[in-house]
Symmetry: none
Subunit: 221 residues, 4 copies
DNA sequence: GATGAATGAGTTTTCATTCAT
DNA sequence: AATGAATGAAAACTCATTCAT
């Protein structure tokens, strides 16, 4: 199965030129959001996309609609990375976890607003995608646990958290160095996942999945 | 030696009410910057601080002056945490590293814009503070290495990077959960610092210190 | 003679679907103009009519063309009401006047922009229609005067003014109540037309007909 | 007691220049609303008032706040006219009614959005003013009825309705002629209020006061 | 004949900054 | 020292109009 093209929609098919514009807007939005935050000027995004601001508004009726689509594309990329990790998990589950995280680092331009700490996505498509990611990672972790390759108290939330942390933009750091630092961090983190004489992990306050229970107006941490 | 109060300045002493206003402005700025980014509206910051916008301008002639002071206070907090880590490093250096990172997590409200990935601070005070942090951490790491308690290729940059990652705001996550997730992440990371059969770490492209060479207009990663 | 269908035109006959679209556009325009004024967004009118904005433009090359047609339809309705009033004037001229006014109230949805106080219509058709209305009303009034049923100084302008007043939209009032209030007002007004000890009416500054001399850019009263 | 200056407020006193600006904004808004409707461009209003658009926004946080104040001033003028009518009602109640209506006509520039058919005002001040008008007019009518000078079924609603009708702008008619036509209309209407062989008035659907029960989103008549 | 799409030119609203009190 | 007030400039958003399918 081919991966979904970022930004696919379910509505009526767009004319070719409109679809191209839409893709350019989303690409420009991803970059701008990483550089300037989700409050980035929309006309700057339109300018970078090479379209008129009104064209942007035709595709995305307000800022939130644009943010939501960008978030959704991020979820899709994470889901795809998790799916691939599961493919190679049987051979070497810990390597699969590391590849999963490094893949997220590689695609962090797309993962503008990923998961933990990003804007909440409550659209049906977003909830659906979020619901798919956890089981895939759980399955990867199950492989690792059955081999004794991983400390037992690690959960998919730890992986998602780590993905979120290492993908967040470091606006003042050249991409090359940002990637190197993230790669080193992932290496150490994954080594920390091995059982050995690992100390038990502290619990999280709520045992529910966090991602899907966020509220936009909650002051966060 | 008593720790510096955040926001101390070297200029003429302020009247009591003026000093109080200044402190309230800085506190409001920290919160606003975490929630809204460094482009947060200045009158919103003034409103939260309970002062008139013109009063804010009297204390900080432009946005950058305010950002710089907030960054500086962040550096001071990191330096203080590193100093304390060094005090306990002789007994258990790895525990000292973990306490260092967890202290940063606890103070992440103050560490608004810390270190890697934040705005560049080039004021003499900031450069001075940054220059103190690395040696302190190097000394902590030296203790650990001499005991064989840590993989040998870890550097102070890895610690600073990790501190930056786990302190960045997760605006949509309740503070309680954000802290819990960060704490788990730190635990795994620190366990990953142990030698054991640790794999060697990939190198960083430039061996220079990164923090002080950043430029605000560089497209980052 | 069958009454003219509102919005008939003299040009080439339209295809059935085109004619339907045109009628829907005019109906939507009437409603929108009453609710939002003649500056109502054209795409809102198109949306209400269920057609694309470009279709509206095909039928009416600019806003004024649409306004003019709506005004014209209003004049046609007034002319028709005056014609009917004249039919029954011989029996009871004052009752004919009241029926004339009440008919306008009933059709006020069509009389979007009627007569006094509305946009000026200078098209030949509009001028023609306006020129027909005054003589018809004069004839009705002549019947009344010859019977002594009306105070002598009432003119057709007073009737047209009253029609304009009672037909203007009351956007925040439920239609039911708006009609009731207008009906009561008409009753009192018509009773005020009786001779009895009626006081003479104050003169109007210009004795010319007012309607056709208006200019759109004149600041009005 | 001196009449309230239009636009008085209960908040903290404004600085002299700010108060002047505020008054100019309200005057410009009245004119613009009459000419262009309540959707008149706010920057046009600011321009006419000779202030920057941002100054307008400082005084009136959104369009509705401005509309509400203009409406409120209109109510105040009506209340004042009713109060004066009551003063002279004992001598000649019908003349008092006519003067009341003609005063409204004279002040129709202030009565931008009066009463029936205008935007709903639900602020405490507006409700209070509306609640004062009806009793004043009722008292005037009581004088007239006790003298047998008026048909018995006329209510204050009929007077308010008439005031609203004759004050509504006729944007395309020169002020001079608009006033003349309104004056003639008032004369006829007031003559229609005399008892004589007056026919009974049709009832209104709801016997409650209408003005204060309107809802802004109700499609009106 | 109808429509999806795009755009330039507004209009609304916000915000940084300065001034006078 | 602090504040109310004002403003220019920018950004969000809307709308009339045209074009290509």
């Amino acid at each position: 199965m081919a991966p979904r093209t970022p930004g696919d929609r379910t509505g009526p098919r767009l004319r070719a030129d409109a679809a191209r514009n839409r893709a350019q807007i989303l690409a420009a939005a991803r970059t701008a959001f990483r550089e300037l935050g989700t409050a980035a000027p929309l006309d700057e995004i339109a300018r970078r996309a090479g379209v008129n601001i009104a064209t942007l508004y035709r595709r995305f009726p307000d800022r939130d609609a644009l943010v939501q689509q960008v978030v959704l594309d991020g979820f899709a990329a994470v889901a795809e990375a998790a799916r691939r990790a599961l493919e190679t998990a049987p051979q070497d589950p810990l390597a699969a976890v590391e590849r999963f995280l490094l893949r997220l680092v590689d695609e962090r331009d797309t993962l503008v607003l990923p998961l933990i700490g990003g804007p909440v996505a409550t659209s049906p498509e977003a909830v659906d995608l979020q619901g798919r990611i956890a089981p895939l990672l759980d399955e990867v972790l199950a492989h690792a646990r059955s081999r004794g390759a991983i400390r037992p108290d690690v959960t998919h939330m730890d992986l998602i958290t780590t993905g979120a942390l290492v993908c967040r933009p470091m606006p003042y750091l050249p991409a090359e160095q940002a990637k190197a630092l993230a790669t080193r961090h992932v290496r150490i983190f994954v080594d920390g996942l091995r059982p050995g004489d690992a100390r038990p992990l502290p619990p999280t306050p709520a045992h529910q999945d966090i991602t899907v229970h966020l509220h936009p107006d909650t002051k966060g941490g």
